[in-house]
Symmetry: C2
């Protein structure tokens, strides 16, 4: 049963499993204690720190283990902001950061701080120039992911780090998605990562603070992990995290080539196999195992469900798939279609035949969902049902992708140059109607407030 | 090799090990995901929550899993204080709480809050009356441990909860030391605990917030665990925590009787085997496996070291044993001797012969340390070296237990009614000189500032 959601959490690497079970026996005691069980635990902890530091490319005393990637991000941002509070209270993040970074930014804003979100292009990438523009004399910290978790786009960390360095501003890199593939390039100041993203166990993250970076840990003090991660060390998880990072790194170069070929195949073939699909993210600068695309006239939840029934575990950035009704902030920031969104993130060891089977199953699954929803068939015009002159599609109360489907159904009945107003109150329409226009070569005029919801105005160009 | 430090962390219970390794295969995926691996993880998480809630005696939706006991305490205190910020900013803690509670109180104080520390008696127990006196109209929260981690004294939680309930103030119980033995009595409002204290794995704690208790989680928001514990769930640890809690509870009644007999034996025999020993903590209301005593004229660090060489892993609340130069705040609050302090906390399954061997080894170990330090022999007066009229012992720059040893060496040269001034700058002297006077039936007059350090004045009574 193929699991294609490594970006959420990778299955445990065999080395992680082995290290974890071994250190359950050797590493349960308190490493702060002086007796032999404590000393043994301390040795394991020190060795794990050395190994992880070597893989990250930092000094062992710059690295602490946290209880998760999220807690590494939260502690890192809070500590770096507090360490530079005399400089100011301005924080820079990209618009496509992981929610853990954006939620930390929210807290900073709620506490009176200022936050600038750096925009991304249509591939999901920021530019060093975007960070340069955002920097201010009171900027305390900038944050940038090494690669995007939803679309796989690799960010220009080295360039952004250079710009930040020149301004004397530390850069915190969320390396959750890329650390298993290799060290983060460039002259960054802080780094956070999560073991279960690289095949390590849950319960371990890491936070690196380069020497010389001002850092003031927040929250109640605790003598463990240099005061940067409170609570009894989860030593079995730490040992397994370090061991598996070394192990996945040893396989990374070869596996990257193999997975890149598989995702390239998906990128190339999905648009040929399935009509009305947009593959998103940077085609070149991207993670080896991640590929994301969106399917017009499909709702993500049903698509996930049908793929699960067909045996494939994937993720989606569509609305209605994560307990919220808003589409992924990443897709939104990129300005790309969010409906029928699917992210495949292949774990190491993914078999070619599973990818092939996915490609053979996908077209039918998508067309099945479209049929159920009454989506327009790709070929041939759809007869317009409503023929009144001021063409209005009332999709109020209808969830994505219905507003777009309704728009597609009527567009052929609109004379060239004529407009159609789609009334919708689903947040996803704000993203998906312009994206549909771009895909279909129609003109998106803009949105207008309506009595209820919003009116999205589209002009037929051809 | 007997390990007698279960209060720091217990070796993994076999059930915990089994549950942990089993759920490495079944529980690595994200329980928030809709595909089968996610659903399987969710089932495991729900079952663990049900099991833990049953053991605690609460509803499953009142309990969240955290990454450690420390983080449960930190989140619980911060959330409860914030939830009642309209009532006021007054926090009550006992003077003998675990450092995680006291550090959370420090942060509260640093942020402008008020903190009252409730004193304990010489056994280490608070009284409900002490909490009643501390309650104010602006009290937002009170905290009390279920049992003390250093001396094993069981606190009157039910009585304190009643007093708090009557005042409308929630009581947070740190149940770290006792939850493996049974549910916490009384009508408490919040509860925190740590799995590795009951034989569960590191990396899992739990926080219970009773329905109706105002609670506002602090820190960046996160949708996991009802928003009360950020970060990817450490499911293998959670499953192992719940399974082992059930397992140790099933054995608790019988094992409590057995361990209580062993610790009773230690309490009774140590003072007979070793001269100048004070056994501390409540002789009746105490944890089954914990016993603590202090040895005059001995330094904790050497004692730990020698016991380790003899094969025994124990802990100490003496200064110089935990990286700080101040004695345990618990012994300080109790006003008992801190030098040569040893805590034994027997893990379940401790063998009688190991306890007997400890008792047979201890006298020699203690007398060896005393000899090295030149401590006065218990029997017979020690000739005074300094015979000048204004008797001053200069122990400046000397670490505990030297100031007390010097005092004991000269006391017999002091005429009845005469005084001796001990000059010392080791913090432990402030606690140990009065404790020595109490043990020896000499009068402790008080302390006076000196040019360097402090002068502790003792009057010879007989």
């Amino acid at each position: 049963m193929p699991y294609f959601d490594a970006a959420s959490g990778a299955p445990l690497h065999p080395v992680a499993r082995q290290a974890l079970t071994a250190s359950l026996d050797e590493g349960w005691a308190d490493p702060a204690r002086l007796y032999r069980e404590g000393r043994r635990a301390r040795l394991l902890l020190d060795a794990a720190r050395e190994a992880a530091a070597e893989a990250v490319g930092c000094r062992a005393d710059e690295l602490v283990f946290t209880s998760s990637g999220t807690s590494a991000v939260h502690s890192g941002i809070a500590g770096a902001l507090a360490g530079r509070r005399r400089t100011g209270h301005h924080l820079i993040v990209s618009a496509v950061e992981h929610s853990s970074v954006l939620h930390a930014a929210e807290v900073h804003r709620a506490g009176g701080g200022a936050v600038t979100e750096v925009a991304v292009d249509r591939t999901g990438a920021v530019s060093p120039a975007g960070y340069a523009d955002a920097l201010r004399p009171d900027t305390a910290l900038a944050c940038l992911q090494s690669a995007n978790h939803e679309v796989g786009t690799v960010q220009p960390v080295a360039g952004v780090a250079e710009v930040c360095r020149a301004a004397g501003v530390p850069l915190l890199v969320d390396a959750a998605q890329s650390l298993g593939w290799g060290p983060v390039e460039g002259d960054w100041s802080l780094l956070a990562a999560s073991a279960h993203k690289w095949g390590g166990p849950p319960g371990a993250g890491l936070l690196v603070v380069r020497k010389g970076v001002r850092f003031a840990p927040q929250g109640p003090r605790d003598e463990r992990e240099s005061g940067r991660a409170a609570g009894f060390e989860n030593l079995p998880a730490i040992v397994a995290a370090a061991a598996s990072l070394r192990a996945v790194r040893a396989e990374a170069a070869e596996e990257a080539v193999r997975l890149r070929e598989l995702t390239e195949r998906i990128r190339a073939r999905v648009p040929r196999l399935v009509p009305d699909v947009e593959v998103v993210g940077d085609p070149q600068r991207r993670l080896p195992g991640t590929v994301t695309f969106s399917c017009l006239y499909v709702d993500g939840e049903t698509l996930l469900h049908e793929l699960d029934r067909a045996g494939f575990s994937v993720s989606s950035g569509s609305s209605c798939t994560s307990g919220t009704l808003t589409p992924s902030h990443v897709l939104k920031a990129m300005g790309v279609l969010s409906e029928g969104n699917i992210r495949l993130s292949l774990p190491t060891g993914t078999r070619e035949e599973d990818v092939e089977r996915f490609l053979s199953v996908l077209p039918e699954v998508v067309s099945g969902v479209r049929e159920k929803l009454g989506a327009p068939v790709a070929a041939g015009p759809v007869p317009t049902e409503e023929k009144n002159e001021a063409l209005v599609v009332d999709a109020l109360g209808r969830r994505c992708p219905i507003p777009v489907i309704e728009l597609a159904r009527v567009i052929d009945g609109v004379p060239p140059g004529g407009t159609v107003r789609v009334l919708a109150d689903d947040e996803a329409a704000r993203l998906d109607i312009p994206a549909w226009c771009e895909m279909r070569g129609q003109e998106y005029v803009g949105e207008e407030p309506a009595d209820r919801g919003t009116a999205y105005v589209v002009r037929r160009t051809g």
